[in-house]
Symmetry: C2
Subunit: 212 residues, 2 copies
Amino acid sequence: MSNKQSTQLKILEAAEQLFAETGFSATSLRQITSLAEVNLASVNYHFGSKKELIQAVLQRYLAILMPRLDQEFTRLLAAQQPNQLTTVLSVFVEPLLELSAVQPQGTSTFLQLLGRGYTDVQGHLRWFFNHHYGRTLDKFVLLVQQSCPALPPSEIFWRLHFSLGTIVFTMASNVALKDIAAADFNETVEIDGVIKRLIPYLAAGIAAPSAA
Amino acid sequence: MSNKQSTQLKILEAAEQLFAETGFSATSLRQITSLAEVNLASVNYHFGSKKELIQAVLQRYLAILMPRLDQEFTRLLAAQQPNQLTTVLSVFVEPLLELSAVQPQGTSTFLQLLGRGYTDVQGHLRWFFNHHYGRTLDKFVLLVQQSCPALPPSEIFWRLHFSLGTIVFTMASNVALKDIAAADFNETVEIDGVIKRLIPYLAAGIAAPSAA
DNA sequence: GTACATTTCAAACGTATGTTTAAATTCGCT
DNA sequence: AGCGAATTTAAACATACGTTTGAAATGTAC
């Protein structure tokens, strides 16, 4: 291979691949350093600890994605009247797809990592995310409330969490689902296909009439 | 305490609690036996291995739930015309709530375990479940297809997995969500309240018009 | 009450993990 | 070329895990 990448980068790329495939806790530093073809101790040398490596892997994507999303949310909030819910949701598509700039497969990898972040019970990740990007998320919730003026805020709260569950779970099982879909329906499914399939589903669920 | 329960039962109850709270792999046999106040070796004596303990914990609920669901599905399939989608989904409510017969909080615990089963990558669980209850699941998919004749089967496949994600994620974060809802909206939320909130959301998402 | 099977127990086994150490090596700079 | 800092390396450390062992304790039937 004669890989001239820096050790840091080799670790990051091996780590993100294994983290996405099997989760944070289930991936050992020895697997990572073995795949990256670097010494075991170099993870602690360059990143301090496994915990900090996990944050570095996520941060590489979040640092690109979240400012982009914030900018889009701000733009929509400036509109004179409420936006369509599908418009609000569609705002995620482009910034997510642009993550392939970090790496080919970047979009898919990041979404899987996001899923792992919620299902692996890594308390430090929740804190890390809310601390850095809570403001951006608030703008999104406001946009959804404006799109659905008939729904009480508590209903929106629940439905947004329902939707987060859909996204996180779908992305965490992304590989398995793609395999099943390919086998059962002879479909080739790429990540942008899944994202675009999600939007009408989520929009319909979030905007559904209340049960009374 | 002077607990006269059998060692087996004490292990099962401690295990299900810890598995639901923190997942299968993240829970050690030493945590389980410590909470159950039994000897470490008794897990291997009574259940053989950790893997088999996990299956026993799930089986205690599945053995009650799945025949009940199968019976309901069969009843609906006997109808002359397609059932409403909300009717099909509502069929889950009663059997799930009846799981409190196993244990108070049984419904909530089981749904959390189900979530863990999907997010913890325990390959043997998927096999175990499909092998035992694949037939029942097929009936449910058929019912949904009858309810949504306009949707291609591949679209239904994806949307049912989206829905599974909602359920699994919501139940896995059940405790946290209840606390937030109580604090932000002054709502008291019980498990049957969450389940009933889910149905219109899921029904609208599954039946949404296709994007293309 | 004695013999037998079942269950409990403390201890150890083998393996894997994240992290640390200290020496060896490589790199950047004058 | 040679010095000092940065990096890489092999080895060990401490800890945790699931599992096994063999003896002690308990229960059961005659």
